[in-house]
């Protein structure tokens, strides 16, 4: 019995075709050119890239970021669940030491983008580098705050145990959590105002408190770049303030935070960099330049229906694998 055929095989093939067109030489030539030109050149060569007509390429602000030192650089990333593509041809280079919001409508692939970067969902194509090297070699530089709903809060652990999990990579395989780790975990809990709840079973915490536990755990990871999946979802105002204070602290110490965010209103006040996402990167750059009504319309409005329609037509392609129903998102 072989492994089941990945449902995204077809996309992988297509993307390989697209990638083939960009030969290594072409890559070298475009190295100095802002990514905008690179992607235009590809779409004009007729790579299968529905929904992106001429002039509709991502409005990437040339931020003069060097790929080799950027905290995050994503090239040509495509992800598909079953036969439904979720992310298409994502190109992204993010600057260091910023608070970066990932914004887009439901189903735009925001969580998927983070999961694909972290290798939690298979990439159909694309490369991800963290500080110039592949993610797999740079795990120690990356912190992750999953969605709160993604874990079972009835699990028999207390707040301290959860925070201590942030030290597991540092502790390494087969070594136990020691007293010094537990003390350090209490310190991290203090930073989110939760030290009094260290020995509370996690199901007895409110949603906001649970979120703060997750943040304390991320702090324990002591990463250089953090990925946070909707940390503001369903939290009380006290927690929201605590998270914001924490993000500012992280920024002040030169860390980069990539935060999936739902609330458009607070984007300009909380974040200094924005990635507008709707299956592909609509625009990204400093908030004041990118977070415009026009770009938001592009992200949330009209074109979405066209794209969905195109993908619907694509999904009827008889060459796609049959009998896969249900989706994971």
């Amino acid at each position: 019995m072989g492994r089941p055929l990945p449902a995204n095989t077809v996309f992988r093939k297509r993307c390989r075709k697209a990638a083939d067109m960009q030969t290594p030489e072409a890559n070298d030539k475009t190295a100095g050119v802002p990514p905008r030109e690179a992607s235009h050149r590809r779409s004009s060569q007729g790579a299968p890239n529905p929904g992106r007509g001429p002039g509709n390429g991502p409005d990437i602000m040339p931020d003069a970021i060097d790929d080799a030192t950027a905290p995050l650089s994503v090239k040509d990333l495509t992800v598909a669940y079953q036969r439904k593509p979720v992310l298409w041809d994502v190109e992204l280079t993010l600057p260091e030491g910023r608070l970066i919001a990932v914004v887009g409508p439901n189903g735009a692939g925001k969580s998927t983008l983070i999961k694909a970067i972290l290798g939690l969902v298979p990439r159909a194509s694309g490369r991800v580098s963290i500080y110039g090297k592949p993610y797999e070699a740079q795990r120690h530089l990356v912190g992750y705050v999953p969605q709160r709903e993604s874990v079972d809060w009835d699990f028999p652990v207390n707040a301290l145990d959860v925070v201590a999990m942030g030290f597991y990579r540092k502790i390494g395989w087969l070594r136990p959590v020691t007293r010094s780790h537990r003390l350090a975990a209490v310190k991290e809990l203090e930073k989110v105002g939760m030290a009094d709840y260290a020995h509370r079973q996690i199901s007895q915490l409110s949603g906001g408190q649970q979120q703060r536990i997750f943040l304390a755990r991320a702090l324990a990871q002591d990463a250089r770049i953090y990925f946070m999946d909707e940390p503001f979802a369903g939290v009380d105002t006290a927690t929201e303030r605590a998270i914001i204070a924490l993000l500012k602290d992280l920024k002040a110490s030169g860390k980069t935070c990539v935060v999936v965010h739902h609330d458009l209103q607070t984007v300009p006040t909380y974040f200094d960099h924005v990635v507008l996402l709707n299956m592909r990167v609509v625009a990204h750059g400093p908030t004041e330049a990118v977070f415009t009504e026009e770009n938001l319309k592009k992200t949330y409005g009209g074109r979405l229906t066209l794209l969905s329609q195109a993908f619907y037509e694509l999904s009827k392609d008889p060459r796609l694998p049959r009998g896969t129903k249900g989706s994971q998102e």
């Binding site: 992750y144 028999p156 990579r169 502790i171 087969l174």
Partner: protein, 433 residues
Amino acid sequence: MEWTFIDTWIVVTAMLSAMSCALLGNYLVLRRMSMMGDAISHAVLPGLAIAFILTGSRESLPMLLGATIVGVLTTFLVQAVVKLSGLDKGASMGVIFTTLFALGLILIRQAADHVDLDPGCVLYGAIELTPLDVIPLFGMEIPQAAVTNAAMLAVNLAFVLVFYKELKITSFDPALATTIGINASVMHYILMTLVAATAIASFESVGSILVIAMLIIPGAAAHLLTDRLWLLLVLSLVIAAMCAVLGHVSAITVPVWFGFRDTSTAGMMAVAAGGIFLAAFLFAPRYGLVSRMIRQGALALKIVKDDVMGLLYRFEEVAPDDAGALGIEELKDALEGGASVRLAVWDLLRTKRIRRRAGGFALTDTGLGESAGIIRSHRLWESYLCGKMRYCMASVHASAHRLEHVTDPAMQAELDRAVGHPVRDPHDKKIPD
């Protein structure tokens, strides 16, 4: 009851096998995949049969190997069916393990019918016979099954102790585990491999039904008793051991009381496990049914007591000096309660918050102070809901009535500040200090 060395060995073997199952079963329960234990312990049967057919003997090692391979195959097959068909995991397990189990039964019937590998034995085990099959070890004759299960328990213990932290994080948050380089699916398959091996090691002695019971019930019962992982693991082992002792003792005694012959130890162990779970479900300190009912009852009683005191306060507030006191019947009518009011009054009298006066009840000084607090919360809430929230309907009283019971002094002070320290509520009643 007649206890021989055979009984001792039966209990020891049962204990070892129950404990090795329970230890891994904890993680199945915590990962919400209890059905996987069920699936694996059934699906290993064809592996058992094929190993027997190929080697022609009932040697433990080939059987263990064959069954483990099929057990792991089961987890892969289940994943594959989920991915390819889009069926949910439960249905997919149902398809795979029933098919494999049936295949195993057919194989045994067809090819191995002439030996003592019979389907009944697979289901119920033959723990009563295990002490007869001994091997010499340390100068003693030890039943082979006890040795196998002890080895399995040792392996599982080592696994859980060595990978304690890794098992914890991959069970709780597989995504984070994977990002920090502890591959959650690798841990999953190691766990499943051990579950399959454990199932097969226990199979011979206790049978597949008890394997399932021992994989799931001790962990489930322990989870009702504690919120700490290490304690949960310890408790599950204790519960598993108790099941073995209780199971065997009741198997040889209980039927005799009713004039029957003694019954299957494995069956009685499963019954004992169910009994222990029931006891945990009823009497666990925090999550037990009884303690939850007691807590709810205490809360309900507190609310009725608050209401009685509030009513007496309001009565004394408006009643002329020469008015009589409120009696029990009037309290019952006003609060639309029966026995609960009587119980509340009894408790208030007992704690000297109210006293008897002129055929009725009056507040004592303690009671007056406390009820003033309740009334204050009530009237502050009315002011807040009406003043701040623009919610001035008649039902504001009902809302305030609910909120007054959950208002602690800190919240009361906050409320007072929010509405600007009013003296009178929207109904122009005085707000007590």
